[in-house]
């Protein structure tokens, strides 16, 4: 009997009633999670009169692209060319992501594969840094960045983000599962640590690159550079968008278009990287 049951649902220890109950529960929760996102998508295509309907509709009746056209006009009207804001975000995100992946991998390799004086303490410090939010360091960070003379430059936003603790932690845990034999044979051939790292370790941790990249992208994509980037021509995309949104009621439509743009880029990136991210996370737990 159990055998038949197993063939039907291909999972053991599951009752059909339980499956249905779980499915209903999950569907309700998924609706709660997705509802605001569905609204964002619909709002982006609503013509202006549908914004002022009583009672308001969730779904768009007559979808239009006019919000995106208005956004385009408003962009071309801004006194710093809009492409400049986009460029700023691209620079911050690309340098931040690439730098973070390289620096974290370089530091993760010795911590994962070599024993040397100080390795334990350094790694424990990184684990400790996961236990508090970066916001507690914001006051001294502001002073340090001013003292370094990098206030009001891209570096003020990029440098602190490069050494995020979670990235190093995930990368180190992932590197630990690379078989030592791979590195040993290279060592016998006389390869230096740097060559082993670059030629053997790095190509084997591609899923982890993408994971660190995704997490870092997420952190930097939403940055408005508040407090650090004061010159208008250095401010990121996100800042410019908030400015347009704050323009008032007549901007509802543009705000809708902007909302869709801000959520779709991270979602597309996650869709592309998802399987790699999950693969990386399988090794990321906290061992003793």
């Amino acid at each position: 009997m159990r055998k038949k049951h197993k063939m039907e649902v291909h999972k053991v220890n599951r009752s059909r009633g339980g499956n249905i109950a779980m499915f209903i529960f999950l569907a309700i929760m998924a609706a709660f999670m997705a509802f605001p996102l569905v609204m964002i998508i619909n709002n982006a295509f609503k013509p202006l009169d549908e914004y002022y309907k009583m009672p308001p509709d969730i779904f768009v009746r007559h979808p239009t692209l006019e919000n995106f056209q208005t956004l385009g006009t408003e962009m071309s009207d801004s006194w710093v060319p809009f492409s400049r804001y986009i460029m700023n975000t691209v620079i911050i995100v690309v340098v931040g992501v690439v730098g973070h992946v390289i620096l974290s991998s370089m530091a993760a390799y010795p911590l994962a594969k070599r024993k040397f004086p100080g390795s334990k303490i350094l790694f424990n410090m990184v684990v400790l840094s996961l236990m508090f939010s970066p916001v507690v360091t914001s006051v001294p960070n502001y002073i340090i960045i001013s003292k370094l003379g990098i206030n009001n430059t891209y570096l003020a936003v990029i440098l602190p983000a490069l050494s995020s603790g979670l990235g190093l932690f995930i990368m180190k845990q992932f590197m630990e599962q690379i078989p030592d034999s791979l590195m040993e044979s290279a060592q016998l051939d006389g390869a230096s640590e740097y060559v082993i790292f670059w030629r053997i370790v790095m190509p084997n941790v591609k899923p982890a690159w993408l994971t660190l990249g995704l997490l870092q992208f997420q952190a930097l994509w939403g940055t408005s550079g508040a407090g650090f980037l004061r010159s208008e021509e250095l401010k990121p995309f996100n800042y410019a968008l908030t400015q347009i949104v704050q323009g008032g009621v007549s901007r509802q439509g543009t705000a809708g278009a902007i909302g869709l743009i801000t959520i779709s880029v991270p979602i597309i990136i996650f869709l592309i990287t998802q399987s790699n991210v999950i693969e990386t996370m399988t090794t990321s737990g906290m061992k003793d």
Binding site: E193, P266, I267, T282
Partner: protein, 317 residues
């Protein structure tokens, strides 16, 4: 004579010390490449994480306004925080309320959803992962709650409640002290299926399938027993990391409060320790005072993490 002996003794011991040091130095030299590779990351880590935590502790004992050099005032900042600053008391209360509600609820939600999703086929599983992860993935997407709970009749919540006749006047949701906290808790929960959720999804996939089949033969009857006896023990490392991520996040609630309710919010109903810190650190430039808040927050986060970690390990063993 005695002196000489002491001299010899100390000479011997310092020699031994040198020998030991030489061993250490040898090992450091042998691993030169390791330190070179660690250097870029850890220089930045020290500069932007270790140094700020330490200097924050030092600054919390000073009066510092960024213009004049800091002056040492002992524990005055802390005394002021706990004895005079009524808003700080509200901030602590709100922060603890957030942490106690959203921390555990989001932790269990992350696990529960990941666990249910894991029973589906790969396609549906990755679709549902996107749905649940999207709010935290999308950074500023929470602004949409302003439309749902907007204070006028065009707001979805207001128009729905007016339509049903449950209210007669519009509610100004984010400007009414009674509603701010419950709303922020709901929105924080909506946002909280983050990295921890992904870690759980991944962890569930590592549990060996054959273990479940063996367990069924051994007399495990239903999904709850299976969860308790097989899945949870197998996922201990992921459960520990998930707890750390969720605790840290639940103590740091601030962006949604500032952006949806303003800083300060009406009657300080949405004030948390972090918004209070931001208020003093970036608006009033009382860096010493802000550092005292940061130090308390740091200790609160780290100690709760250590406590929960210890508890989880005890439960697991």
């Amino acid at each position: 004579m005695d002196k000489e002996l002491v001299g010899i003794k100390s000479g011997v011991s310092s020699n031994a010390g040198r020998k030991e040091k030489a061993g250490l130095w040898e090992r450091i030299k042998r691993n030169k490449a390791c330190y070179v590779m660690l250097a870029p990351y850890f220089i930045l880590f020290f500069l932007f994480t270790v140094l700020p935590v330490l200097s924050s502790m030092v600054l919390s004992l000073c009066y510092f306004n960024m213009l004049q050099p800091p002056t040492f005032i002992g524990l005055e900042n802390y005394a002021k925080l706990f004895l005079e600053d009524d808003i700080f008391t509200i901030a602590v209360k709100n922060t603890l309320l957030f942490a106690i509600i959203t921390g555990p609820v989001s932790y269990f939600a992350c696990f529960l959803f990941a666990w249910i999703i894991n029973d589906f086929g790969p396609k549906l599983r990755s679709f549902l992962t996107v749905i649940f992860y999207a709010p935290s993935l999308c950074g500023n997407a929470y602004f949409v709650w302003l439309l749902i709970f907007s204070g006028d009749r065009y707001g979805y919540a207001n128009s729905f409640l007016l339509h049903l006749g449950l209210i007669t006047n519009e509610i100004n949701w984010f400007k009414d002290g009674r509603y701010i906290m419950p709303l922020l808790i709901i929105i924080q929960l909506w946002l909280s299926l983050g990295t921890g959720f992904l870690v759980f999804i991944a962890g569930l996939q590592t549990v060996d399938r054959t273990q479940y089949e063996a367990a069924a033969i051994d007399g495990i009857r239903n999904r709850w027993q299976e969860l308790w006896y097989i899945t949870l023990p197998a996922m201990k490392p992921q459960l520990l990391l998930g707890a750390v991520l969720q605790i840290t996040q639940s103590f740091a609630v601030s962006d949604i409060s500032i952006n949806l309710c303003g800083n300060p919010s009406v009657n300080y109903a949405g004030t948390t320790m972090v918004t209070h810190l931001i208020d003093y650190g970036t608006i009033r430039f009382e860096m010493g005072y802000a550092s005292a808040i940061a130090t308390i927050l740091f200790l609160l986060m780290v100690l709760s993490n250590k406590l929960v970690n210890w508890l989880l390990r005890r439960v697991a063993d």
